[in-house]
């Protein structure tokens, strides 16, 4: 038997609301299957299961808000043991009692980027806000056809749908007064306020607990940009790769050279991680940010990284992030190069121990071999936890990063 618990989807999360079960009792599941959708202050997240087995019982109803660590389901793992029913029901906070701000996404953002990767299961693609509306109005998402990009169910589809008269517990939530449902703005503000608080908690904890040190280097990008231009010239527009891709690749490889920056500081102990999962800061149009992880970034070539990034950005903005992507980042990158910012002094996302910031690549005077020239220069800034590493390691990392970016062909040949 194994317990499926409410996961902590970030160091700032205390509780989560079950939005939807994607399985029913008796279903067999495999490790990494998405079996539930949970709503945090930040987003609706698809939660994966860690065992192979059969769903023995579902203990939490959609709409309920439970603390992190609460057993939500029991899974019979394939060891042939006798089912054990937990003694007591999980402590739950009913939605009616909850005073937490409702997690309603801001204005619906239609994303129309090329295909999402095919999914192995028949998951319903739906934006977080649409999910919320559907719950409030008792609409069964399975009955809807999405009209958003790639068939994503968006808020407009919910508006058009008529509630089903179901006896499912999910719809026992008292219907929201129409006045509230009709005025989206206050709800959107609540959601933003909740996300703001989540960011505030994580960042305040970081500044309170983590003794940051900062190291900065200027990197000549002309070789990488030449390589990128000639590569993109050969490609159709939809297959082009963004300048941030070689940066992520170089960061992943530099972390294999200096693994101390990749991992966590937990319980007064430095724990490096073998896997390299790079959290990529994505800002949301309605305000706030999410930093989901590009999993196993060091094992991906440029095209795979571009596909992964495209997929992450699209899902961050239209719904459907998975729990592992929210929790597994071992390091973070913040790229503000799209704006005119030269330097990014980042704040580490606890319990990680490093954050790399990229500014805008700008033409600058550059002296090399006694000659002065003009080169595209990128400023890379490392913020690192001084409890976990010292400046010497940080310097080795930035040196490695620079070295990889001077040999783009080798860097980008998978």
């Amino acid at each position: 038997m194994a317990d499926f618990i409410m996961p902590s989807l970030g160091s700032d999360m205390q509780a989560g609301r079950l939005v939807e079960w994607l399985v029913k009792e008796g279903d067999s599941v495999r490790r990494r299957d998405v079996i539930a959708v949970v709503e945090t202050d930040k987003a609706a997240i698809e939660v994966e299961v860690y065992e192979d087995g059969i769903i023995e019982s579902l203990l939490v109803q959609p709409g309920q808000k439970v603390a992190v660590g609460t057993v939500m389901a029991v899974i019979r793992t394939e060891t042939g043991s006798i089912p054990v029913v937990p003694d007591e029901a999980p402590s739950v906070e009913t939605p009616q009692v909850s005073t937490e701000p409702e997690g309603v996404a801001g204005p619906e953002r239609e994303q129309s980027s090329p295909a999402l990767p095919p999914s192995g299961t028949l998951r319903i693609k739906v934006s977080p806000y649409a999910r919320k509306l559907a719950i409030e109005r008792g609409i069964d998402l399975a009955t809807l056809a999405g009209t958003g990009p790639e068939g994503v169910i968006c808020a407009a589809d919910i508006e058009r749908a008529t509630p089903i008269t179901s006896t499912e517990p999910a719809v026992k939530t008292p219907p929201t007064p129409p006045t509230k449902a009709a005025t989206e703005k206050p709800a959107a503000k609540n959601y933003q306020a909740a996300m703001r608080r989540a960011i505030a908690n994580a960042m305040a904890r970081s500044k309170r607990e983590i003794p940051h040190y900062y190291l900065q280097t200027r990197i000549d990008m002309h070789r990488t940009l030449l390589w990128l231009a000639s590569e993109n010239d050969k490609r159709q527009i939809k297959d082009r790769i963004l300048p941030v891709i070689p940066l992520i690749r170089a960061m992943a490889l530099a972390l294999t050279d200096v693994p101390e920056l990749n991992g966590y500081w937990i319980d007064d102990r430095h724990q490096t991680s073998e896997a390299i999962h790079i959290g990529f800061v994505i800002s949301l149009r309605q305000g706030g940010l999410i930093a989901p992880a590009i999993l196993h970034a060091d094992e991906k070539g440029p095209d795979e990284l571009m596909a992964a990034l495209r997929d992450l950005i699209t899902r961050t903005r239209s719904g459907g992030l998975r729990s592992t992507e929210m929790t597994d980042a071992t390091v973070t990158v913040s790229n503000l190069g799209d704006l005119g910012v030269e330097t990014v002094y980042g704040i580490i996302y606890p319990p990680q121990v490093a954050l790399l910031g990229f500014g805008k690549t700008m033409e600058q005077p550059w002296a090399e071999n006694g000659m002065l020239g003009v080169r595209p220069i990128l400023t890379a800034t490392l913020a690192a936890d001084h409890r976990a590493t010292d400046g010497h390691r940080g310097a080795q990392f930035l040196d490695a990063l620079d070295r990889y970016l001077q040999d783009p062909e080798k860097l980008c040949t998978p």
């Binding site: 204005p107 619906e108 953002r109 239609e110 994303q111 129309s112 980027s113 090329p114 231009a229 993109n232 010239d233 159709q236 527009i237 939809k238 082009r240 963004l242 300048p243 941030v244 800002s283 149009r285 309605q286 990034l309 495209r310 950005i313 190069g337 799209d338």
Partner: protein, 85 residues
């Protein structure tokens, strides 16, 4: 290759921008306004914009021309020229 007049091209551009930035009102853009800054469009959205332009107008913009296409008037001129070829 089909052609479009400037107004039709403008409507295509507005339609794509509206998808990328739904809360914006592209028709209020001034002809010389920097679109990326005005609508807060990042490099990922910009790439998607050109993917959609390729689909809708049949104009494949090489990366080296991105810099020439910051404003509405630059885009209208560029796309009209490319489409009439």
């Amino acid at each position: 290759m089909y052609t479009m007049n400037e107004n039709e091209i403008k409507n295509v551009i507005f339609g794509i921008l509206k998808k990328i930035a739904p809360e914006s009102e592209p028709s209020t853009l001034a002809p010389e306004e920097n679109i990326r800054k005005a609508l807060d469009i990042d490099s990922f959205d910009a790439l998607n914009f050109f993917v959609h332009i390729d689909e809708k107008l049949g104009v494949s913009v090489p990366e080296s021309d991105y810099g020439k296409l910051s404003t509405l008037s630059e885009m209208l001129q560029y796309f009209s020229r490319r489409m009439s070829k």
